[in-house]
Symmetry: C2
Subunit: 560 residues, 2 copies
């Protein structure tokens, strides 16, 4: 019996997304065949607005832990946080080898070192077109273009057929760094036959083509040529090609370059060491040196393209940066677009910079950024080359997955061969068939400080309540014998009203509490839970009537 089941099982490939579907970020997909599991990507997501106080979100890997003896490796497509950011957390629970291209592994190395777990990890660097055997999988890394160097698509060869995973990609015919996406191999794979494709849906709503990274270089050239004073440029730290273009423009126009911001320094160092960033000798100087040079000889590359409150550019804009003070005449270039949710933060920084007299160049005013993701025509090119039998749109919210499915249909794919699924869905493929075969545990694990998963809905609900209307603590000491009040009631409030201007309200609130207690005494109610809930109810009604607010009420009864 067991043998039969095993044989039947053997002929099927399972694909189980654990992250990246119906959300942006936290990308992770499980490929399972017989006794072998490989995991593609291990990313984090940033918290939603409702996840108050949460630092970051990682995938729930219950399924992997249950099957830990099967898990052979984590395979990475590229080095962005939404693809590698959960590694320090996951490797602590599941220490398996990690495969990736050179820059990706370089960035992972740095990350694991920081967390003190590098020495226990096994990191394996793979070259484009190299095929690595992992259990019954043969994983082939194929070059793509993206907003980070060394990004890869994966052709995962399995006993039932080849799976193509696009990773994050775009098609840039004139990329910085020179090497374009491996269209030739994509075509070969398509010709031979691809069973399933998983493909990036991020920009599926945008018609046409994403402009080449090189077009941003032309804008930089223009701006650097015209700028008469200091130039400060911010972009995503991981966008090595963007940084390369800034460095090239600075070099061309006789400016030295200083770097500000921890993550920018880290990435630049890793990229230089590995040869992904080519910097002329003597061009890079530190900020102290830069401050001694004439302003027209200096460019500063900095973090803060999303207006992050603690980033270098934000600190410069609010005069809190220790080494860089914005002065009239500075040109500040924000070479990025807003990730949804960050619009107001960026806007605030732009306003502050203008107030200091800087000339601020941002996306609304100049072609100073291109996306790292393929638009509709590029996505069509990939579908056409790969011509998979089955298709799973990935990396997107539900709306993106739906639009991507529609696009695939316009290219001739039968709707029943397209799977719009959720994290945790088990898809099962044979050589000729594909179906939804069930679900496994999947979800969000919230990281807050050192706590991984210890903040859940109750804690978040309380934080939200406290954030809206603050709280009121009522303390009273009562006698064990008589039930009479010995001390209090005292009332302490935070985040509710100005206490100084609300003395009357506080006095009246104490009276409400006294009334409840005397009523309880009179009626012989001595259950603490009942008394507390009566205090909560009466006080809550009283305060709502007076203020139309609903503070959290915490009654504390001490008995002696």
């Amino acid at each position: 019996m067991k043998g039969d089941k095993y044989l039947a099982h053997k002929a099927k490939l399972k694909i189980i997304p654990l992250g990246g579907l119906n959300e942006i970020g936290k990308n992770m997909t499980v490929f399972e065949f017989g006794n072998d599991i490989i995991v593609v990507d291990c990313g984090l997501a940033f918290p939603d607005d409702e996840m108050l106080g949460i630092d970051l979100v990682i995938p729930d890997i219950t399924y992997l832990l249950k099957n830990r003896e099967k898990v052979r490796a984590i395979v990475l497509t590229h080095g962005h946080e939404d693809h590698i950011g959960a590694l320090p957390y996951i490797l602590k629970q599941l220490n398996v080898p990690v495969y990736g291209t050179r820059l990706t592994i370089g960035l992972v190395e740095y990350k694991l070192k920081e967390q003190g777990i590098l020495k226990d990890s096994k990191l394996i660097t793979v070259k484009p077109r190299e095929i690595v055997e992992i259990g019954q999988f043969k994983v082939e890394f194929l070059r793509t273009s993206h907003s980070i160097a060394d990004s890869a698509a994966l052709a995962i060869h399995t006993p039932v057929g080849t799976v193509f995973h696009s990773g994050d990609f775009k098609i840039d015919f004139t990329p910085i760094g020179g090497e374009i996406a491996d269209l030739h191999r994509f075509a070969q794979l398509g010709e031979k036959g691809v069973l399933v494709m998983l493909c990036d849906s991020t920009n599926i709503e945008r018609p046409g083509y994403t402009m080449s990274e090189r077009t941003v270089g032309e804008t930089f050239d223009n701006l650097f040529r015209k700028a008469e004073q200091r130039i400060i440029v911010t972009t995503f730290a991981s966008n090595i090609h963007r940084v390369q273009q800034i460095i090239d423009s600075a070099h061309k126009y006789g400016r030295k370059v200083a770097i500000s911001g921890r993550s920018m320094l880290n990435v630049v160092n890793v990229a230089m060491e590995l040869g992904y960033l080519i910097v002329p000798d003597g061009l890079l100087i530190d900020i102290d040196e830069a401050n001694k040079l004439p302003h027209d000889k200096v460019a500063i590359i900095t973090t803060g393209s999303q207006g992050e409150p603690m980033s270098a550019l934000t600190r410069m804009a609010s005069s809190e940066h220790k080494k860089v003070e914005i002065v009239p005449g500075d040109t500040v270039i924000i070479s990025a677009s807003a990730i949804p949710g960050n619009e107001k933060l960026i806007s605030r920084v732009i306003n502050q910079l203008f107030k200091k007299g800087a000339n601020v160049i941002y996306e609304a005013l100049a072609d100073i950024h291109v996306s790292g993701h393929a638009c509709q025509e590029e996505i069509k090119l990939l579908h056409t080359l790969i011509k998979p039998k089955f298709f799973i749109p990935v990396h997107g919210e539900y709306r993106h997955l739906v639009q991507h499915a529609k696009l695939a249909e316009t290219l001739g794919m039968p709707p029943q061969n397209i799977f719009i699924v959720d994290n945790g869905t088990v898809l099962e493929f044979t050589k000729n068939s594909g179906r939804i075969a069930g679900t496994v545990t999947a979800g969000k694990v919230l990281v807050d400080g050192l706590g991984v998963g210890d903040v859940g809905n109750i804690v978040l609900r309380d934080r939200k309540h406290l954030a809206q209307d603050g709280l009121l603590v009522v303390v009273v000491t009562i006698s064990k014998e008589t039930g009479g009040i010995i001390a209090g009631p005292d009332i302490i409030s935070r985040g509710f009203v100005y206490v100084r201007e609300s003395e009357d309200l506080m006095e009246e609130s104490k009276n409400v509490v006294r009334d409840v207690l005397s009523k309880c005494k009179k009626e012989g109610i001595s259950e603490w839970a009942t008394i507390k809930s009566m205090i909560k109810d009466d006080l809550s009604s009283f305060l709502y009537e007076k203020t139309k607010r609903n503070p959290m009420i915490l009654p504390i009864i001490m008995e002696i």
Copy 2:
């Protein structure tokens, strides 16, 4: 002496913005000449992300209250919340006549009725090109186009010259409703000479022209022609012309129309009563009736274009609407663009609607919205017609004001005649000169429930702290005589950690408190403030070390 000063004073016009500069919303500008003050617009703003729990923000009118005997009127340019929303609050403190065009006054009437202060208010309806004398001011209302009907620019004729205030505007050559901006009168005014112009800066970053409202109608026509089942359209309630076009399309394609959402119902009723919305007899039905019709005979117009959590569309999307259930085949049209900060809310609603099988049409996919504000070429047209001597860019963040000033310079205006100022700045004009003459109190008054201005920085700081890491209340009863512990320490936490999974942490925390108390007893420290601050410090360090979180700590000592 006093007389001299008064005479000198008389020959000068003061313009004092109290809102709308370096911010979006809360528009209010004071015009003062001698003993006469008029106030243009009386708007609210929506709270920033940091203003936790705040409902809305209104201007600080300290200056007006100090000069209450001078204030003759409030003059409104149009009926949007950021121009009329603060009226119920301001009129309670300063009951002066309110002037506006017919629809504007209609909407104000409704608002004041709701607040129960209509009977005490004096509302005066003015026609386009009508001139009203208010003190020494002659205020002329001039038709413009905007995303609400009956919007007006103002020519304010004063003894030192004419001031032109654009209000919110765009130039639509084919407006719905038929009447275009009064370019002829603008030209006359410019020819005669305008001293100062205040002009809307909202879309100053956008090149070209804002498309005509009529183009959206063409999209509606297309969508209504193709839709085979029910159509649900959401837009800003106040966009009467948009609602008119939806109604026209519904009528053309044989659909009845039902309205959902309180604010949509209100505006539609006011607009129909006043003749701004022309609805064929019998076309409007209520939702219960609509639910009895075949789906291809129904269109629903609803609130929720910004994904507002309590709005009708959001409730439909999350299956919480009592009367409308989204079913596969529904076409949902979101005829709006995201106000910055609302992107994620809207995105969530779109995803939910797709999941229910609706075909969702939104801005990324179709030309389903146009802005209500002028782009660069329209703004240039206005500057060119009015050719003011002095210019104050208004209605925008600092970056918008700067870009608007730059645009004015390209049109030949001398930089020294342009005033980029802040709320509270006093600008003083004579027939030939303009200068910054000082500042007055200006700012944000926060409204939270019934409280107007009772929530300030301390309360908001506490709410933010509580939102991030929750709180820990420590209660202990100690003896007056011995200083020894009689009861406790008890610890209660909310929004910090799951209490059930953190019993050890709570026990250890109690020990930290016990240690502090015994140390205090030993060292003879009996000042409560000192003891409390020691508990806070030690517990805070302990918890940060254990969790890397910083909950608010509230030590409460009861003494008996």
